[in-house]
């Protein structure tokens, strides 16, 4: 009992000087509408929790990490293998980054579907858009700090995209790389961005974002038919809070606390079971036997850059982000009033679904990259026995040509090989002999022309092999006019 009074006395001594107990209590106990004490309202605080976790694990990593082009990779190896629990802290930071991007996106979708961006919370939403961009910026710069082959070539991709900006492109590339090439200076500036610039901005923006939530009040549970009007909303909201309100702490806060703890445990569990991300190979550009791939949250972009028609790529890369960010920023001004409930906003729901399905499909496709040639298929994937069983010597020679000329890198047989071009298991059903020869020699439809790289004998053998590729009981394609033409030729006999 004496100890308790002593502690209270000490607390009071500090607060007489700091004067912060009252504002903290006021913030913690600010009234919220009762129906917002929902599991749908936990994502904002969860995002902040993961952000704090990222700050803590990030500082721990900085104790060991060396932001030098020559040594970063080795210092990550030391973290992974030599320093006690270094692997776990790296894994927490890596998985924390995945969780943060995911939670921020979920938070954004929830806020959008609940109409929380409408009057008077426009600026809270706009700050949120910047917070999303900064989160993605942290994800990209963080991937660069894991200075491995993927980071090196990922920077090359970033530079190639930046260079396409008209007039200023080359200057932007040098500014981004800190010099003429991807090197030590590049890593140093990405370190500064990842550790000082973006986190500093993030902390400031998060504080403003939370302050606005406290000042303007949390968005009430949207009721179909309860229309937001600029003239009346504020008084309606105060009425609601007065009539059916409760202090945030602890009426609403306990759900936030449970979910925050759950997320931290989930990050720790993923870190423990799956371990840290990379680093993959050394960032040595002379090792060209590499297949660079971005981190999870940029896979959709990887897919998009493969699937866009080449002529549309530069406009899409340069104008696309401006449009997307512009729409996000102007959204609260375009629909600042009106219905909040997702039940009365079908276009909003469909937009979210469409974007989610698009991003999901692109991410799924980027998981197995059907557009990339399999660089080792020609030497690594054997021709399945069933395709050469009972073939002639010429056809087998053709199968050899098929492998040696790297056709397999883009065309699969028996479900192994590249998927860049069509699978050739039944190509003879689709193309006649003449069409096969033309396709091989002239290329087209995204296939290179092999005319200069195949001797006539090789072409003959290859086409003979391709003509055997049809399912049993299905005849190969043939040019019907040819029979007629050959028949007509016979009586005349004059043509060679």
């Amino acid at each position: 009992m004496r100890l308790k009074t002593q502690l209270i006395n000490i607390g009071e001594w500090f607060d007489r000087r700091l004067q912060i107990a009252a504002p903290i209590r006021e913030a913690a106990e600010h009234p919220i509408p009762r129906n917002t004490s929902s599991w749908w309202y936990v994502f904002g605080s969860a995002a902040m929790t993961v952000f704090i976790l990222q700050i803590v694990t990030g500082i721990l990593l900085a104790f060991v990490y060396v932001p030098s082009g020559a040594e970063a990779w080795s210092s990550l190896q030391a973290l992974n293998h030599s320093i006690t629990l270094g692997w776990f802290i790296r894994a927490m930071h890596g998985w924390g980054s995945n969780f943060m991007v995911a939670i921020v996106l979920i938070h954004m979708v929830q806020v959008f579907l609940f109409g929380a961006y409408k009057f008077p919370r426009e600026l809270t939403w706009i700050l949120g858009v910047f917070l999303l961009l900064m989160t993605l910026g942290m994800a990209f710069t963080g991937q660069v700090l894991r200075f491995d082959q993927d980071a090196y070539w990922g920077l090359g991709i970033g530079a190639s995209i930046a260079s396409r900006v008209p007039v200023l492109g080359p200057a932007i590339v040098k500014l981004m790389l800190g010099g003429p090439i991807i090197a030590g200076a590049t890593l140093s500036r990405f370190f500064a961005l990842h550790v000082f610039v973006i986190p500093g901005l993030l902390i400031g923006f998060v504080c403003l974002h939370v302050l606005m939530v406290l000042r303007l009040g949390i968005n009430e549970w949207p009721m179909p038919g309860r229309i937001v009007k600029r003239a009346t909303y504020i008084s309606e909201y105060h009425e609601l809070v007065k009539k059916d309100g409760a202090p945030f702490f602890s009426y609403g806060a306990w759900k936030d606390m449970f979910f925050a703890a759950f997320i931290i445990l989930a990050v720790a569990a993923c870190a423990y079971y799956f371990g840290p991300f990379g680093p993959t190979g050394r960032p040595d550009p002379t090792i060209i036997q590499t297949v660079p791939k971005p981190d999870y949250f940029f896979l959709w972009l990887y897919a998009l850059l493969s699937l866009l028609p080449p002529s549309l790529e530069t406009p899409a890369l340069l104008i696309g982000p401006v449009i997307v960010i512009g729409v996000l920023i102007f959204l609260p001004f375009l629909s600042g009033e009106g219905e909040k409930s997702w039940k009365r906003r079908p276009i909003a729901v469909l937009t979210v679904l469409m974007i989610a399905i698009t991003l999901g499909t692109f991410t799924h496709l980027a998981g197995f990259t059907p557009w990339s040639p399999h660089m080792n298929a020609w030497s690594g994937d054997p021709v399945p026995v069933k395709f050469i069983h009972g073939t002639t010597a010429l056809e087998r020679q053709g199968a050899l040509v098929f492998q040696v000329k790297q056709c397999r890198n883009c065309h699969s047989l028996g479900e192994t090989g590249g998927q860049r071009g069509p699978a050739l298991d039944s190509v003879a059903v689709r193309l006649t002999q003449d069409q096969l020869i033309r396709q091989v020699i002239q290329g087209g439809g995204n296939m290179p022309a092999y005319g200069k790289n195949l001797s006539p004998a090789e072409t003959t053998a290859l086409v003979a092999f391709l003509e055997t590729l049809h399912p049993k009981g299905q005849a190969p394609a043939r040019d019907a006019s040819r029979d007629v033409a050959l028949k007509d030729d016979k009586p005349s006999g004059s043509q060679p």
Binding site: W153, R164, L305, P448
Partner: protein, 189 residues
């Protein structure tokens, strides 16, 4: 009643000693900010300004002509001419050297003209293939298929005393200076 507007006018027109020093203080701070801003901006943009007039480019030796057999395309590496102490292996740059005949060469950048991934040479089919988005180029560097909008980037070269030398020093990108040194070639198909 009539004195009020006169008083107001005089308050607007007459600057107090304190007000004058306040304005002078703001001006003084503006001056200080400008003096500091010049070197700060100069520092921030130093990586661009040096590049003016090909400031980063120099001639680098790749090796003896004899090391590159005629009719073949081989990988060569060189140390970037502009190096910082912390660059490590990142300043080692690979490139593809195609020896056509005699003193005739083509030296291609390793970077795909699409998004910069490292292209690989396949001698058997005479193609360069990119592992990222599937760009393919013929042996002369011209575009064969896939997303690139142009052929491979080429370094300017010269052969002197049996040694092949290239002008290098910048990461070739679709918009950067080195990319403009060579024109896009028509497809050989």
């Amino acid at each position: 009643m009539s004195t009020k507007p006169i008083l107001a006018a005089s308050a607007e027109n007459v600057m107090s000693r304190r007000g004058f020093f306040m304005k002078l203080g703001i001006l003084f701070n503006g001056l200080a900010a400008a003096v500091v801003a010049v070197p700060v901006v100069g520092f921030l943009f130093s990586s661009i300004t040096r590049g003016r007039g090909n400031g980063y480019l120099s001639w680098v030796q790749l090796g003896k002509v004899a090391d590159f057999p005629e009719g073949e395309t081989r990988l060569a590496t060189f140390r970037n001419p502009y190096v910082m102490p912390t660059d490590g292996a990142t300043a080692d740059t690979p490139c593809w050297v195609r020896h056509i005949a005699g003193d005739q060469f083509q030296v291609f950048a390793i970077n795909c003209a699409h998004l910069g991934c490292p292209v690989r040479w396949f001698a058997q089919s005479g193609l360069f293939m990119c592992p990222c988005h599937g760009g393919v180029y013929y042996r002369d560097g011209s575009r064969a298929s896939g997303p690139p909008e142009r052929g491979l980037f080429e370094y300017p070269y010269k052969v002197e005393n049996g040694v092949i030398t290239i002008q290098a020093g910048e990461l070739p990108t679709p918009g950067a200076a080195i990319a403009e040194l060579t024109e896009e070639k028509p497809s050989c198909a």
